[in-house]
Amino acid sequence: MSNDSHDMDMPDTVTSTEASLSGSLDGDYDDAAGYYTPGTPLVDEKAPQGPIADRWQNRKFEARLVNPANRRKLSIIIVGTGLAGASAAATLGEAGYNVKTFCYQDSPRRAHSIAAQGGINAAKNYKEDGDSVHRLFYDTVKGGDYRSRESNVYRLAEVSTNIIDQCVAQGVPFAREYGGLLDNRSFGGVQVSRTFYARGQTGQQLLIGAYQALERQIAAGTVSMFTRHEMLELIVADGKARGIIARDMVTGEVQTHLADVVVLASGGYGNVFYLSTNAMGSNVTAAWRAHRKGAYMANPCYTQIHPTCIPVSGSHQSKLTLMSESLRNDGRIWVPKNQADCDKDPREIAEADRDYYLERIYPSFGNLVPRDIASRAAKNVCDEGRGVGPEVEGVRRGVYLDFADAIDRLGRDAVANKYGNLFDMYARITGEDPYSVPMRIYPAVHYVMGGLWVDYDLQSTIPGLFVTGEANFSDHGANRLGASALMQGLADGYFVLPHTIRDYLADGPFEPIGEDHPAVVEARTSVTDRIEHFLSVNGTRSVDSYHRELGNIMWEYCGMERTETGLKKAIDLIRGLRDDFYRNVKVLGTSESLNQSLEKAGRVADFFELGELMCIDALNRRESCGGHFRGESQTEDGEALRHDDEFAYVSAWEWAGLDERPVLHKEDLVYTAIEMKQRSYK
């Protein structure tokens, strides 16, 4: 240890549970006992058997066809217009189905897929560097820490190449080499160059491609678009998803939309943490209302936290901004050794008084350790009181990312060439010049791997409800590889769902239901009751203030590192806060017009219930895997310790009612094409 004056051990909550260090658990021990009800095992009945490389081909062949003449009579509702939703809507529209699409923004082009920077993976092997479908599959399963379903991941890798062809044909301006062919880069620590990119705006370009395809279908009349509409309830009639209740956010009208099948492509729920890199409007409501209607929620605790975000500047902070991880290639991360130095100008802190903690703890990987390790280490040093930057609520949450050495070594111009746009972005947001003062960074919630449980066909536990993109749980296991989110969204929307949904639709059109069907009436009433409740409470606290407090609880106890005591405390806090919210929230205005506080109230109400389930899920999973680190499950060196013998399953949670214990159904993960291994970064 380079520094004796400070205690470098993990915080007490971590070291207190030495029982877990042995690597195996007492089989009877269950942290979440009392918080949930054990349910029957869950089996994916659609999962094909046979050699892994043939499964998708076989499934496509076995899925029944729908006669082109009948497609017009079949109606599909798609909620969300990000990569997964827009691509599915365009493709199903082209096929001739009758599609209705919904988004809460003013245009489908605003969906948050647009903010993805890095790139999109595809097993094209254009660099002839040993890439293949199997290697992409292998890397993705390994990256997900062996908590994803292998058939799904293989399929993802398989269709990845079609995505690039499709996007290029749409006119997506990917980066190219001088010969006019597509350029690739290596991304997220993998050893092959398989990432296609459009400078730092790959998500934008892919989304605009899908958006244009969608607009083309809107013009053709196959897709009807409902912008500024928010899904507030799912209609499940006679055991099938048959429509949604949506609110027109401009007029306030509560509308019933009926269809033969419903697709949720509504994105992730990172905003349960209040501060995240998600868009302001990103929410869980569509997925959560479906969960309450019977769709299981899988692995909700799997959250990805990104280490290089711009730190919080004050309590007014509304969102966090990500900077590309590539910064860690040349920047050195450090904090002062002495707390007393934390408010000093960093340039005046002597080299001997700096703690380059990643280089110290992980000498071989140094600043390039994986996302979760870098994130956790940053939190630990800040919890010790050695964070830098402005004090927000009494704590400095930030660490230095210093380019002084890189500028000395490579020259300012070379650094500007590589990172110029990121430096500009940082300077714009913080008002500091990163060429002369070290950057400050801090981890932030970025992506959720958890989501609604789906089978191989992307169908949830409610027949007729399909879930795609970040809203489902299927492909990333406990951790997502860089440049895989875009791949999954487009794979689901362009190439997977259009095939699997037809097998379901082959039985349609289903018996028409009217607006007087009891299920419709029930759904409508629950929506209008909830709206009326929020408007009538007339309490004293704003929706945002509750959301911020919930976010703090989630970040503190269900963030980078979770412990049994912390999670139990969080559950109590969330329940108390939720009760107070229903009694004391203040929502002004009416329901008959644009009312942004009212919209937020509904979303935050659902975040409360989700947050509690996330904590219960984290409590149950007494192992560290991927983005989920349990303090009780670590090696003697403080590294994540997975327990394949006990936790190689998907946790699929069934809603049992408010204040009832959710039911846990376990889907065992079986690997036939791949062998499970522990990772090491020392």
């Binding site: 969906a111 499709q166 044909a169 244009q212 013009a219 362009y494 190439f495």
Partner: protein, 247 residues
Amino acid sequence: MNLTLKIWRQPDAVSAGAMHTYQLADVSPDMSFLEMLDVLNEQLNEQGEDPIAFDSDCREGICGMCGLMINGDAHGPEVTTTCQLHMRSFSDGETITIEPWRSDAFPVVKDLVVDRGAFDRIIQAGGYVSVNTGSAPEAHSVPVPKDDADRAFNVATCIGCGACVAACPNGSASLFMGAKVTHLGLLPQGQPERDERVVNMVAQHDHEGFGGCTNIGACTAACPKEIPLDVISQLNKDLRTAIKHGH
């Protein structure tokens, strides 16, 4: 910082609106402009006054949802989106005038929120390549010169925020339209529909009630993505070519 804010309030699309004045104290220079409005809304909520409606989503300058006229400049004094504008660009005691985009093609929905559906309809008129899913050839079958690909990317960075329309003294959407026509026109994939695309998009633009371009350049000065005036030249050229081809 202490600020005086003059803000357009309008309850809905049909009611009349007016400027209202608010005082806001203790504004941090590190706040973004929208966070400053969040703080004002918290204050209004406490006082029992309807919070000010404004659009924003990603708050990192890429989704194009935010957009306010700030002291007479679209997105304010810096070349960026409203969400990436920070209060350090203003001074203590300043009066800030905040209005919605003014364009009859972008009707006000409420307060500072406008309806930019006209942009979607312009794209619907032809801002795409007609290729069905699954029918695409192998990506490397058509090489694209790097310069063309890079230029296409540069203009494809348009975020559809509408600042060009808001800033244009004629209320024209030529920069928005030109960016899409240029992006697709630079790529081999965009060639088959090139003539039809430009004619249909411009016709839709006119139908929506946007004004004609007089090459003033206020659009490009306001554009947070710095889309150059090149694209309007290209738009005009493509339309001229379409006339020549008998469209």
